[in-house]
Amino acid sequence: MKEILENIRLFFVGALDMQGKAHGHIENEASDTMDQFMLLCFGDLLGIDLPTTYYALELLPYLGEDLVKWNMRMSDKKSIWEEKAGKLDIDP
């Protein structure tokens, strides 16, 4: 019984998800913008010839922690509109 009530509570936590609903779109946009900035700085690491990479190296101490995961995210990007569809929660 306790488990059922706890599951119902968790259902409403997920359904309401106030934090997500309050900040989700902004966080997604901010994350995408940051990824694009990293692309401008370190595009060379993805095989894109960008002269900015040389100059952006001094930003490495600040951005380096996320570099590996950024690389994974950029390699995984296949279709922008589909990723947006999932994040925009489009369902009429």
Binding site: G14, A22, K78, S79, A85, G86, L88, D89, D91
Partner: protein, 534 residues
């Protein structure tokens, strides 16, 4: 017959289906609880991270719940409540549930990739292009249908129109204070909800009465502006404040039904032919979102698949959420059938399905003391608010698809079609032009497009299941039925829209794309190359 019996029947049928058919699907597809999901193997703390099953179910259901499962069943009630209710039950269990669960499962097994990637792997590049085109056409039809429906609602319930306009102002102010000035979310929410209640009250005092054409133009202008502004100004605050409205409305509606226990008065079955529509196929394309909807696969493979903690949760989240949506569709059919045929036709004619729904829920809420006018205005505001946010996101997404389709980067000057304002303008003009044709003409087209999107997802699922040596008939048989229904519907719509260039264009375009899709399906299933069992 009492309407509570409908909710009881739906609940029991869905519970039995979940335990039996859901378990059957899980077994036949080889859902493996010991296998690590992408949420663990590709955990990045941002998109890929595991979530507990009930939390994910709540989140996924929240994403797929919309105005569609409300508008569709009410629109189809012209055939009587029994065919609509039966299709909600059968559709959710054998069609929509399979589609949603299958899309989620195939995405999880493809490293949480979106459905388009699964289509690319199983059907090929043509399948991916078809997917993008179907999605874009469906989004245009969403824009057209919902703009018309909201305009009708504002004409029929001008109190909700005032409240909606004030809501936009409240959302903008909320956005500025919470996201720019740093006011805490809790305080901002309390003030936001208080201002919403004030908006509803002011709406009842100062109803805004404008003509339908005026509302359509205002709404199209709003959609254009809302979809190009940064998300923090309108989209984010609206989406957040909407959730208060929506859940208050759902709770009020269900509690009201339980207190009032209205009796069903609408005829169980009216006729096979009503006006120019025939039960087959129109029932099936009108009740789209309440039985099977292609959009659910976009949501499921978009975010949900990346957060599945264990494969055994896929049945609960994918299949379960569709069944809960069926309960919402059942509530919608109750609001259409507890009133007699004359009252139903009158409300539908005055203000469309949202007018019927808001009158019904408003009436149910009088059982616990809320005045009818306030309740009706509140529900109309809630559905309109939801529809307006869907319109904003649909326009954005249609613009992204359009931009990606016409992106010719690396070949010189970027096409003007990829410009944000040009692509939004084209999207809004096309959607808006269609909106003036009326929701009754557009909704079957939207339903057909949505079913074809679902058929494409079922095709990808069926091909993948077959290629990996799994049982696939539970996906391919619903897919064939979707093709049959939509092809017949589109032929009927082509003949019905002969005098109307824009509607005829959409009917013909969807028909041709459906044929192309069927040919793709034939080619994909004939392929002898197999993928080793994943």
């Amino acid at each position: 017959m009492n309407s509570l019996l409908l909710i009881l029947i739906a609940s029991v049928v869905f519970l039995v289906a979940y335990v039996t058919y859901g378990a059957y699907l899980a077994k036949k597809w080889g859902i493996d609880p010991s296998r690590k999901t992408p949420a663990h193997t590709m955990n990045d703390g941002v998109d890929y991270m595991p979530a507990k099953a009930p939390v994910l179910l709540g989140h996924h259901f929240s994403s797929i719940a919309g105005a569609g499962p409300i508008v569709g069943p009410i629109g189809a009630a012209i055939f009587g409540w029994v065919p609509v209710f039966l299709w909600i039950l059968i559709g959710s269990v054998f069609f929509g549930g399979v589609h949603d669960m299958g899309a989620l499962f195939s995405s999880v097994r493809h490293d949480g990739k979106s459905l388009g990637e699964v289509i690319g792997v199983t059907i090929g590049k043509n399948g991916k292009k078809l997917f993008a085109i179907f999605a874009w056409l469906t989004l245009l039809l969403v824009i057209a249908a919902f703009t018309n429906i909201v305009a009708n609602t504002f004409v029929a319930v001008p109190e909700a129109a005032t409240a909606s306009v004030l809501f936009i102002a409240v959302a903008i102010v909320f956005g500025i204070f919470v996201y720019r000035q740093g006011v805490s979310l809790a305080i901002g929410s309390i003030i936001g909800v208080a201002l919403l209640i004030l908006s509803i009250y002011l709406g009842t005092l100062f109803p805004l009465q404008l003509g339908k054409t005026a509302w359509m133009i205002i709404l199209l202008g709003y959609i254009f502006v809302a979809s190009v502004t940064p998300v923090w100004i309108l989209l984010q605050p609206r989406d957040y404040l909407n959730s208060f409205l929506l859940y208050a409305m759902l709770i009020g509606g269900f509690v009201g039904v339980i207190f009032m226990r209205p009796a069903i008065q609408l005829a169980p079955v009216t006729s096979f032919t009503v006006g120019k529509s025939t039960l087959f196929p129109m029932l099936f394309v009108t009740v789209a979102c309440g039985a099977i909807s292609g959009f659910h696969s976009l949501v499921g493979s978009g975010t949900t698949a990346k957060q599945v903690d264990n494969e055994k949760d896929i049945r609960l989240v994918g299949y379960g959420s569709m069944l809960i949506e069926g309960i919402l569709a059942t509530l919608a059919i109750i609001t259409a059938s507890y009133i007699g045929a004359d009252k139903f036709k009158e409300l539908l004619g005055q203000g469309g399905p949202v007018n019927v729904f808001s009158s019904g829920i408003g009436d149910f809420m009088t059982s616990f003391g809320l005045p009818f006018a306030t309740g009706k205005s509140f529900v109309a505001l809630a559905i309109s608010a939801f529809a307006l946010t869907s319109l904003d996101t649909a326009t954005r997404l249609a613009r992204f698809i359009f931009q990606e389709f016409f992106d010719v980067s690396g070949e010189g000057q970027p096409s003007p079609l990829t410009n944000r304002y040009v692509s939004t303008c084209i999207t809004v003009v096309l959607g808006g032009g269609l909106a003036f044709k009326g929701w009754k003409a557009i909704w079957p087209l939207f339903g057909s497009a949505n079913q074809l999107l679902a058929a494409l997802a079922l095709l990808a699922l069926g091909v993948w299941l077959k290629q990996s040596g799994r049982e696939h008939k539970m996906a391919t048989i619903p897919m064939i039925f979707m093709f049959a229904v939509t092809l017949v519907a589109l032929i009927q719509l082509m003949f019905a829209n002969l005098g109307n260039i824009l509607l005829l264009f959409f009917s013909v375009a969807l028909f041709i794309l459906a044929i192309v899709l069927i040919l793709q399906a034939k080619a994909a299933f004939s392929k002898t190359a197999s993928i080793s069992k994943k």
